[in-house]
């Protein structure tokens, strides 16, 4: 499989598109800044959010039990899934037992993580994604490239072509209003016909047993209103202790994600409507493993706002697919190695460690520090190219020995001066698009000994 560096290089080949991708996401980051700076208490909110999440994660056992108890009292059915496979099986069983064929799903990164659509498709069951961006990429048989803006890698003409093919819209009509209207008509039919609606969960409240789903399109509500079964899938880290804590998180989520004060729809689901079933699937899928690692535990605080994507100078210039994972971006680079440290060994290195991700994170995850720590972990597990390891070992050997270091430095400067082609060649990635520094005739130390030392 291709690694991030290779996929990023391919992405960058289309220079105007790279510029456009970078500028589009920077615009979102800029909107986020404006929203954050409009609240003098912003940093306090982040601190509260971080503390609430830390507290919830440290007391998950009791909060999960409390949540389950309340949810059951409310009339929901609660399922526990140890992994993606079990999550998918549970949902498949509900579908089969109720003899259902028409299913809609609003945005849920968890179902992406579990590859639910593929699982059900293999069993001949179609799921219609109802978030506009999700529907676009679903038509194109592509995964989302961004967790909040799934089709952000596409331009309006791409969408126009896709809709022409699948919804028979006018060829070449790139008017966003026209295209959205076509999607609306198409999705409305799906909503009305839906027998079962799957949603994600943004927050699950222990004290009430209710779940909160945030969307801008109202598609989660449209789905759940019409269908007789609602399945809400959640990773167990979505839990917060009290309903009043939503006052912190709902203010942070949309401002961090898109710069809006709040999502257009923040829907609270507590009990099934008469005649309706409400199922809540609580999923572990590797989360308890992270919970047991002090260095990485707090990555579970993530509320999936994608602010770290939008600010990341690497993500903006390499695109979501270069991360070859369901969650891309800086947060993906610390979450995915937990699933498979070999398959995602490249991701913690897909960062200049600039630290902007940690700064925008509304729940204060130390993302760039965790990237650094994952790098140590990955090389310790041996998922590193031999040449890199040998090179760094040699470097460490030389730099630990002052005499050897000075000799090596002198040699390097001498070679650069007398035989620059030895270094300035295509084997040197630095030289491909950059000049090497011009070699000075002496080192600082040489100068110091001549001019300053008495």
């Amino acid at each position: 499989m291709k690694d991030h560096a290779t996929l990023a290089k391919e992405f960058i080949k289309d220079s105007p598109r790279t510029d456009w991708h970078d500028e589009t996401l920077w615009f979102v980051r800029h909107k986020r800044d404006k929203a954050a700076h409009s609240l003098p208490e912003w940093e306090q909110l982040r601190e509260w959010a971080s503390q609430i999440k830390n507290h919830a994660l440290s007391n998950l056992d009791s909060y999960l039990e409390e949540f389950e108890k309340k949810a059951l009292e409310n009339g929901a059915v609660v399922h526990w899934a140890a992994d993606a496979e079990e999550h998918n099986q549970i949902i498949h069983k509900i579908i089969k037992e109720n003899g259902i064929s028409r299913i809609v799903k609003s945005k849920s990164m968890l179902t992406e993580e579990c590859h639910l659509n593929h699982y059900l498709e293999a069993k001949g069951i179609e799921v219609v994604d109802t978030d506009l961006g999700e529907r676009i990429v679903q038509f194109r048989k592509e995964p989302p490239s961004h967790i909040v803006l799934p089709a952000i890698h596409l331009k309006k003409m791409d969408v126009s072509e896709t809709f022409h093919e699948h919804l028979h819209t006018e060829k070449g009509n790139n008017d966003p209003k026209y295209l959205t209207h076509a999607a609306r008509l198409h999705l409305r039919e799906k909503f009305i016909a839906a027998e079962l609606a799957i949603t994600g969960v943004n927050f699950a409240v222990a004290e009430t047993g209710g779940v909160v789903v945030c969307t801008n399109e109202g598609n989660a509500d449209m789905g759940t209103h019409a269908a007789k079964i609602h399945i809400a899938s959640m990773g167990f880290e979505k839990l917060i202790p009290k309903a009043e804590h939503l006052a912190v998180f709902l203010r942070l989520l949309a401002r961090s994600a898109t710069g809006q004060p709040i999502t257009t729809y923040s829907s609270h689901f507590h009990k099934p409507k008469p005649g309706q079933q409400l199922h809540i699937v609580i999923v572990d899928n590797g989360r308890s493993r992270i919970l047991g690692k002090p260095d990485f535990k707090n990555s579970l605080k993530c509320i999936r706002c994608a602010a770290c994507f939008n600010t990341c100078p690497v993500y903006r210039r390499s695109g979501g697919y270069s991360y070859h994972a369901s969650v891309a971006g800086p947060i993906g680079s610390i979450l995915n190695p937990n699933f498979d440290s070999k398959a995602f060994a490249d991701l913690p290195f897909a960062s200049s460690l600039c630290g902007s991700c940690s700064n925008v994170c509304p729940v204060k995850i130390d993302i760039h520090d965790q990237l650094w720590k994952w790098r140590q972990e990955i090389t310790r597990q041996g998922h590193v190219a031999v040449a890199k390891k040998v090179g760094l070992k040699g470097m460490a050997f030389v730099l630990a020995r002052p005499g050897l270091y000075r000799f090596g430095g002198k040699m390097l400067r001498w070679v650069l001066k007398t035989m620059p082609f030895m270094i300035n060649n295509r084997l040197n990635p630095w030289y491909k698009q950059r000049e090497m520094p011009s070699p000075p005739k002496q080192s600082f130390r040489d100068w110091y000994l001549k001019n300053q030392k008495r």
């Binding site: 290089k9 210039r317 460690l353 600039c354 090389t379 760094l392 520094p437 002496q442 130390r445």
Partner: protein, 245 residues
């Protein structure tokens, strides 16, 4: 106090070392330069091999034990020492070094509390905010955070006579150097650098300056390949320029 010159400055940018030394002397410091210093160990650590940097760490502790202050003209190397220096055989000394090491501009502003810089630099200058200095050491406020605005490097540059300081559109975006990232993720690294340069070029600057030679080396490499007229210069070289000695 004692003077820490990161390895690549020693080998490739002696002028930055000289300017830093002269500047500190001008500002009244009694500066020593330990002759057996090499590298802070960051290249290994950031590549996932922190465990290989024991030798560098030991050598660093050996060279820099027993001083009141350690000052280096590189935010990134200073941050690495602050965060990661360790020496199991000499824990106390390593801990002391971690708490007494300063980046040059933070030392001038916070420790020397110097308010007057005798320098003149009659050029248009763009300041590149290096991430490790800015976000790591807190040399200036950051655009992501909702906190009072400040900038130690800017505060000093503003004292320089005749200088025209210009901010690029994205004032604190990374240049893409990132240590070994610049080699292993060459395509993204260079693209980030080119984009940074574009925004400084839009300001028609003569120079791009910063507190980190590593970022400047990367930016300089791209500028020279492009045949640009813009030059890079370390902040110490500006603060030491043209003033009365």
């Amino acid at each position: 106090m004692v003077f820490f010159i990161p390895c690549y400055i020693d080998q490739f940018y002696p002028g930055v070392g000289i300017a830093t030394l002269e500047l500190l002397k001008k500002l009244g410091c009694n500066v020593e330069f330990p002759l057996n210093q090499t590298c802070c160990g960051q290249p290994m650590a950031n590549s996932g091999f922190a465990r290989l940097s024991d030798g560098c760490d030991k050598n660093f502790v050996k060279n820099f034990t027993g001083y009141d202050y350690i000052v280096g003209p590189s935010g990134s190397c200073v941050l690495h020492i602050k965060d990661h220096l360790h020496d199991d055989g000499n824990k106390k000394a390593a801990d002391r070094i971690r708490s007494t090491i300063y980046e040059l501009t933070e030392f001038i502003v916070d420790v020397l509390k110097i308010d007057n810089i005798e320098a003149s630099f009659p050029y248009k200058v763009g300041l590149h905010n290096s991430c490790h200095g800015q976000r790591g050491l807190g040399l200036s406020s950051m655009s992501e955070r909702v906190l009072p605005l400040f900038s130690k490097p800017e505060q000093l540059l503003k004292k320089v006579k005749s200088i025209e300081l210009l901010k690029p559109e994205r004032n604190d975006e990374c240049c893409g150097f990132g240590g070994t990232f610049s080699v292993f993720e060459e395509a993204v690294s260079v693209r980030m650098g080119q984009d940074r340069i574009k925004q400084h070029t839009a300001n028609n600057v003569d120079y791009i300056t910063g507190v980190d030679v590593s970022c400047l080396m990367h930016i300089e490499g791209i500028l020279r390949r492009q045949g640009s007229k813009i030059k890079t210069i370390h902040i110490a070289e500006i603060l030491n320029a043209g003033g009365a000695l």
